[in-house]
Amino acid sequence: MSQSHVAQTAPNRAPLYFGMMAVLIIAVGFLQSWNSALFILNMGLISAIMALGVNLQWGFAGLFNVGVMGFVALGGLAVVLISTSPVGEAWQAGGLRVLFGLAIGVATIVGGIVFWAMLRGNKYRALFIAAWLIAGFFIFRAVFDPAVAAIEAVNPAISGNLGGLGLPVLIAWPVGGLFAAGAAWLVAKTALGLRSDYLAIATLGIAEIIIAVLKNEDWLGRGVKNVIGLPRPVPYEIDLQQSEWFIGLMQSIGANPVTASSIFVKLCYAGLFFAVIIILITAMQLALNSPWGRMMRAIRDNEVSSEAMGKNVTGRHLQIFVLGAAICGLAGAMMTTLDGQLTPSSYQPLRFTFLVWVMVIVGGSGNNWGAVLGGLFIWFLWVEVEPIGRFIAEVITSGMADTSALKAVILERTVYVRPLTMGLVLLFVLRFNPRGLLPER
């Protein structure tokens, strides 16, 4: 009976919670600045999209993906490879050789698979495959390494990579999704047949591998030297500040053009992000309520009886794992576009895997609106609890002498407020709302 009670109250709570979320963000606008409020909103929307991706995998299909960070980072790489301009010199130095080297690498692996099947029953199979792979590896490195060295020697201070295709940055968003989908397909093909905890370990490992590749393959995305100044889909503040129409518009409403230009840019981003999230959530709601979504929930509920009813469990898992990863990749491309830079060392599992999971669980797994709410709310806390914690600490310690040891200890500890709050929120939600703020049904 308690479940039907929840089902009755759930539809009324969503507008309330989203209203409260809006009030929180507007409060930041009034109390801090509108720039901060829009920063929280924009990253919150991107977080919400990541949460939607994880919710698709976990909430719809029960797949435990703890490699969110890797898929997000691949989306970021797509922005560099699509939107930056190609480095002609680097391409001349070794572009084609790098591609040729990679082709040898792929051919070695594909050849290994083909021969493994062809030599079935041959007693020298293992020996031959080992020799093939070792030889392939050395040929691959012989072609690949000098090409990489040549590329990285080209102007290392400002490029040292192959650059991208010089296409509009918005194209990078779907491409980011495709990159992540491709990686997810490879993971799924190898690990999805395993039980869920093995999938978790596999995704965890793959995410770290992706980050390691991004950090070390300088020819691809400059590695830890970072790519900065990525093109934008929206105007630059400086151009707005110098354009007649903008200055005229801001003077007519009595705003400072410098502050207003930065707010205007953030609003443009917010508009783009809202468009993406509306398309995504519409598609996902339609999917969830379609026969396909029902089948996914059935598979999540009981794989054995779904199989007996003719549902291809492995096939559907593969499908939804790839789709969920693609959404994470899309969000990653959007985030890198918003930041305007790709910094591989900034990808931390705590921020991009754990936090997204907290968003999904706090929001309510299996509910798309819950994922969006969780994304906005947890990101809001992530940003805001630290200044609030510091403020409270300063108020508490304001009466103490500057030499007081207690004061030093309290102020020093404020940096821990953020992880502490995340843990507390998770605990309280799991205690009082075990199925999340907006439960599945």
């Binding site: 026969p291 396909w292 089948m295 009981n302 007996a308 009813m309 003719g310 049904r441």
Partner: protein, 242 residues
């Protein structure tokens, strides 16, 4: 007419334990056959190998003349095999109707929208759950969950129905209703293999029985004869009663 279901030399090992040892039998179209045996004799394992839920270690399963031995369960179901489970396996987050609807969409003979809903309503009515499609499946009592599972199996419009202790755990009046339901299906010409412990049901339903003990087939024949067979009585009740 060839056999609807043809099982030959089926083998299954779990580690060192041989759970099923060269079991062979056939089902003719429209036959209702009981698969009997004491607990642990491998009946459910045979069921699981027919439906593809467990891979076979040897032997073959043919459905309507086609070899389905190595197929995964979802492919076997596309050959017209539907089953119920010894312990009911409802899908808790779906309603009763949705549970049944699931068998219709993305199945062997997929139907959508109203056509699918019509089948769901028909099957729910057949098992005695008419008008209860919107209830939560977890609110159903045990017999009704079993009925729902039957409706779900039937909604796929199978040619072969595997009932794994479908009548177990029912009280005498529910048992009567259950037997009537299976008899209805028999009248419609469905081929049914049922694993059962309730002799009353076996006598009422099965023209023929196959008896297993410790993984081997020990008897096969018309129900009345098989149930009198000293080997069968010994397997169930021990030497003293044979």
């Amino acid at each position: 007419m060839s056999a609807q279901l043809e099982i030959s030399n089926l083998h299954k090992r779990f580690g060192g334990l041989v759970a099923v040892k060269s079991v062979s039998f056939d089902l003719k179209p429209g036959e209702v056959v009981g698969l009997l045996g004491p607990n642990g004799s491998g009946k459910t394992t045979v069921m699981n190998m027919i439906s593809g839920a467990l891979p076979c270690d040897g032997g073959s399963v043919r459905v309507g003349g086609k070899d389905v031995t190595a197929l995964k369960p979802h492919k076997v179901s596309k050959h017209g095999v539907a089953r119920t489970f010894q312990l009911v396996r409802p899908l808790p987050t779906l309603t009763v109707g949705e549970n049944v609807l699931l068998s219709v969409a993305y199945s062997r003979k997929p139907k959508w929208g109203r056509a699918a809903q019509a089948i769901v309503d028909e099957k729910l009515e057949f098992v005695g759950l008419a008008g209860r499609g919107d209830e939560k499946v977890t609110n159903l009592n045990y017999i009704d969950q079993k009925r729902m599972e039957m409706a779900r199996a039937l909604a796929a419009e199978p040619e072969i129905l595997l009932l794994d202790e479908w009548l177990a755990g029912l009280n005498p009046s529910e048992l009567r209703i259950g037997i009537d339901l299976v008899q209805h299906l028999q009248g419609q010409g469905m081929t049914i293999l049922l694993v059962e412990h309730i002799m009353e049901a076996v006598r009422a339903l099965c023209s023929r029985c196959i008896v297993m003990s410790a993984g081997e087939k020990i008897a096969e024949g018309p129900s009345a004869e098989v149930l009198q067979d000293p080997v069968v009585i010994k397997a169930y009740l021990g030497d003293d009663h044979a």
